[in-house]
């Protein structure tokens, strides 16, 4: 059972009452999670688990210590506080100490649904059986993962800040392969509301992609125009908000650092139709009501009309730079301004290019240019004269995100949708030039 607000508050108060430290932030978190996996149309593993845990961060004479554990007896809670204090006593002064926040006002966020948190194993088993039946009917093999869970989290500071929130999430990812291994498709979605996760759509799309991607042809590496489906955009940009950290940019070790000790704040780095922001109260993508530091989360623009609008400041770095801490990001939303395009319209407008379903094994190669490598996977098609011509063999890419989103390189933008990532809402993008460096035999 998830902790309710009174119980979470009681645990926070109890932890605070054990303190000898000058300042502290305590956290309590409870979560439940269950999942089922299947491969070759038959169930492989499953699991269900529950846990409640606490984390205590203290400062004694500005010296910091932290301890956490999942034993909830009074004796264990007291010991966790004592451990944190013991560490603080022997640590040097925390040069980045900023006193914990006093009472704040948090806007409520609605991202919790009981049916998601309390999913019934038998119902899920039946739903997954419908997916494997559909795969068998199409003479393909399904490999899937369905997961549902919920979390309740509260924190309290010695100076009076407190917040409690609950969230739920359900996701289903399905890979479908043809029996000869020459075709593979993937589709995945997530939602906080079990009722809004369309299992039939996911199964249908994954099966279609597997059949349509059969027997891919080699094309040879090079620069291609690409249409990135929302999942492919999420794969590339899911972690991009980290690049906006002000401290790293100020220190000269980020893609948003500039020569002469400056940063790229305010520069027109991206196409002028691109908007990147975080919004805790987005109805499709509710985020946490608070940042990790206990600052109330608010809508935060990172990129506005293609310009770097904000770099993100922690409470310490904001104090150093005489500015306010950034109230986010707590999620990641990419939108286009002006008229938006469907994937079909993007295909019709493309003389020669590639339609990309998703990317895989993405790693940063060069942080100076946010240059990533990775591979296409589970559906890549060649487009010729405005039509999907045939499936193409997978590629490895080496591509800088700064160049990919640069002015003039993003002629068309789609409507943002939730993909598999529970923290992102991304659109399909038409990218004029994208660098594929070698072919991969993998299907």
């Amino acid at each position: 059972m998830l902790l309710n607000e009174p119980d979470a508050k009681r645990t926070c108060d109890k932890l605070l009452s054990y303190l000898r430290a000058d300042d502290a932030v305590v956290r309590v978190r409870s979560n439940s999670d269950s999942h089922v996996r299947f491969a070759s149309n038959t169930i492989t593993t499953n699991g269900s688990s529950e846990e409640t845990s606490v984390q205590v961060t203290v400062w004694m004479n500005q010296k910091r210590g932290e301890a956490s554990g999942n034993e909830m007896s009074d004796a264990a809670l007291r010991r966790t506080v004592e451990q944190a204090e013991q560490i603080a006593r022997v640590s040097p002064v925390d040069q980045e100490y900023v006193p914990s926040l006093g009472p704040q006002t948090f806007e409520p966020v609605d991202g919790y649904v009981d049916a998601t948190a309390n999913i019934v194993a038998a119902d899920r088993a039946r739903s997954m059986a419908q997916v494997t039946d559909a795969c068998e009917k199409a003479k393909v093999s399904g490999y899937g993962f369905h997961q549902a869970g919920a979390e309740a989290a509260a924190f309290a500071s010695k100076n009076g800040n407190f917040n409690y929130s609950r969230s739920s999430n359900v996701s289903f990812a399905l890979t479908v392969r043809t029996p000869d291994g020459a075709g593979s498709g993937y589709f995945a979605r997530s939602h906080f509301d079990l009722g809004k996760l369309d299992i039939g759509q996911i199964a249908g799309e994954a099966i279609r992609k597997a059949l349509d991607s059969h027997s891919p042809r080699p094309l040879g590496p090079g620069i291609y125009t690409v249409i990135l489906e929302p999942q492919a955009v999420a794969d590339l940009l899911g972690f991009f908000t980290y690049a906006f950290d002000a401290r790293r940019a100020d220190e000269g070790r980020s893609a948003l650092s500039a020569s002469g000790g400056k940063t790229k704040l305010g520069e027109q780095l991206f196409d002028s139709r691109l908007q990147l922001y975080s919004d805790p109260r987005h109805p499709e993508l509710p985020g946490s009501p608070s940042t990790e530091e206990g600052v109330p989360a608010r809508k935060t623009w990172l990129v506005k009309d293609g310009k770097i609008e904000t770099l993100t400041y922690s409470r310490f770095w904001a104090r150093q730079k005489d500015t306010l801490p950034t109230p986010g990001p707590v999620n990641s939303i990419l939108e286009g301004s002006g008229s938006l395009s469907t994937i079909e319209e993007m295909i019709q407008s493309t003389e020669r290019g590639l339609l990309v379903s998703r990317f895989w094994y993405i790693r940063t190669v060069d942080p100076r240019t946010a240059l990533l490598t990775g591979l296409t996977r589970d559906g890549l098609w060649y487009i010729e004269d405005g039509k999907v011509a045939y499936p193409a063999r997978n590629f490895r890419f080496n591509q800088s995100l700064l160049q990919m989103l640069a002015p003039g390189n993003v002629p068309k933008i789609g409507v943002p949708v939730r993909t598999y990532d529970s923290g992102a809402l991304f659109p399909a993008l038409l990218i004029k030039e994208f660098n594929f460096s070698s072919e991969s035999d993998a299907v």
Binding site: R64, F145, Q147, G252, S438
Partner: protein, 523 residues
């Protein structure tokens, strides 16, 4: 370049402190709240409840994990945290279907409830199970096992660890041109109790240590920056790893190299012969051989995330993976190896076996439910869970490349190269979902011309195909060049679990590999 004997340390100390069985050892129960916990009694409750509910097999794990993490930068301590996680998990096999459930509330009532839930989940899925799960047999085991270490790192005062890291940072910051240094120490202690319906009762106590640093040199005028991370990685060792490894010497060398990278010559793209140090080669082994020889991947169990494998069961004993020099051994007994255990998470004893012999793929990594699917009678003991709350799944043993039988030095291999690159340390890494096409970076790159090292290069990454790459190996170092490196955080599965695994190898030479220059124009 290596000016001190890091390899000697990794080779000799790692091998010198072999794991040993401690028959009279019993689990440390330091927590007041645990003193009343009788693991055997809880296990009996779980097993009896599972049997009553129709389980043909059940196992029960009650585990405590302790983590200590210290993070510093320059002369500041950023974080010191202690974390504990304690709980139990029950796995039941009912009507040919698995059911797993876990809880962090360790009481007899909760064990009954959670065992009931595990059986209920298994029953719910059994109606749709197209192939019933079967297990190969495993001997009943009653044993205690403890990983080998000289100094328990959790017994060392926090102040001493902070002093060590800040001392390293001080050395690193002395080099002219160094701007920042981050360093950390991550310590793990696993205390595991396993019981099965077949009568096994196993206790294990495991210690792992992972110190790390990363040095950054920034050229503020040009806006350029370069980093050099530590090379040695994590080990299944105690605090002696921190005390005996030449950390200060490496920090000094790394700081100079971080600055030198700013001015190093950009690599010309093209084909080069590569000489790869074990601090680099371990990761190529991990990605291209370690994962491709997991039987669950080959059978499609991981198709929805990590992918499948270019190796399939019908290729066993037939597929040539590399040149005749190549021999890969899977080994859960290898001293110092991060995946070394006494027993796996279904009670099968640790083993050593060949995956690749004389360049040909010969065998798989298996568990009790995977082995029967390819007609095997025994498991190689590769089941692992990263927490009491995680369902156990097949995980990689230590997978190591044999060294040459004769004496071959790094210089011997370099002397046979006309136009090549010597690479130290692991950098960026990526491989496709069937483990064909890969790309690897590194920490430092050294140009080889006419058998001699002539200077530093930058912006290097190489791409190859697994069988082409291992087929191009025409030279391996001898025993003196052999060292073990590894990953603390190898991810696999859904939900994602991490595991730790090591890969021993000598220096290796690979002919005509495709090298890229990874730098692009900054907007």
């Amino acid at each position: 370049m290596m000016k001190y004997s890091r390899r000697e340390f990794v080779t000799t100390l790692g091998v010198g402190i072999g794991a040993m069985a401690l028959p009279s050892w019993s689990m440390v129960q330091e927590e007041a709240s645990v003193r009343g916990t009788d693991q055997a009694e809880l296990a009996d409750i779980a097993i009896a409840t599972a049997k009553t509910l129709g389980a043909s097999y059940a196992d029960f794990r009650i585990n405590r994990y302790r983590y200590e993490d210290i993070e510093t930068r320059e002369q500041q301590v950023r974080n010191v945290s202690l974390r504990q996680s304690f709980g139990f998990g029950v796995r039941t096999l009912v009507k040919g279907s698995w059911g797993f459930a876990a809880s962090g509330a360790v009481t007899p009532q909760e064990v009954r409830r959670v065992t009931g839930l595990a059986a209920e989940i298994a029953r719910a899925h059994s109606a749709y199970q197209r192939k019933p799960v079967t297990l190969v047999g495993a001997p009943k085991v009653v044993a205690n096992w403890k990983s080998s270490f000289q100094h328990d790192p959790f017994e060392i005062p926090v102040e001493e660890k902070i002093r060590f890291l800040l001392g390293l940072n001080d050395i690193a910051m002395r080099a002219k041109g160094v701007s920042f240094v981050d360093s950390s120490m991550s310590l793990v202690n696993e205390q595991k109790y396993f019981a099965s319906s077949e009568g096994s009762r196993i206790e294990q106590y495991i210690i792992r240590s992972y110190p790390y640093f990363n040095i950054t040199a920034v050229d503020r005028d040009s806006g350029d920056f370069q980093t050099r991370g530590s090379l040695v990685g994590a080990q299944m060792m105690g605090y002696e790893f921190i005390e005996k490894y030449p950390w200060q010497a490496e920090a000094r060398e790394a700081s100079e190299e971080a600055v030198a990278k700013l001015k190093a010559k950009p690599v010309e793209p093209g084909q080069y012969d590569l000489v790869l140090d074990p601090s680099h080669l371990w990761l190529t082994i991990h990605e291209s051989i370690g994962h491709s020889t997991e039987l669950d991947r080959a059978l499609g169990w991981e198709a929805n995330l990590a992918g499948t494998s270019f190796i399939t069961p019908d290729k066993t004993g037939k597929l040539r993976i590399g040149s005749k020099l190549i021999n890969f051994v899977a080994d859960r007994t290898q001293p110092g190896g991060l995946a070394t255990v006494g027993y796996d998470d279904e009670g099968v004893a640790a083993q050593r076996w060949h995956l690749v012999k004389d360049g040909v793929f010969v065998d798989w990594q298996t568990t009790r439910d995977l082995a029967p699917l390819i007609g095997r009678k025994n498991s190689y003991g590769c089941l692992h869970a990263d927490s009491w709350r995680s369902v156990p799944m097949p995980r990689m043993p230590n997978v190591s490349l044999d060294h040459a039988p004769e004496k071959v030095s790094l210089d011997d291999l370099v002397s046979g190269v006309e136009n090549g690159i010597l690479i130290y340390g692991d950098g960026s890494y990526s491989i496709d979902q069937q483990r064909y096409n890969f790309q690897f970076g590194g920490q430092t790159f050294w140009e080889i011309k006419k058998g001699k090292i002539t200077g530093m290069l930058r912006d290097v990454a190489y791409q190859s195909r697994t069988t082409d790459f291992w087929g191009s190996c025409d030279g391996l170092g001898g025993k003196e060049t052999y060292a073990m490196h590894g990953s603390y955080y190898d991810g696999k599965g859904q939900p994602m679990q991490i595991s730790s695994v090591s890969h021993g190898c000598p220096v290796g030479r690979f002919r005509r590999v495709n090298v890229l220059n990874t730098a692009v124009r900054r907007p």
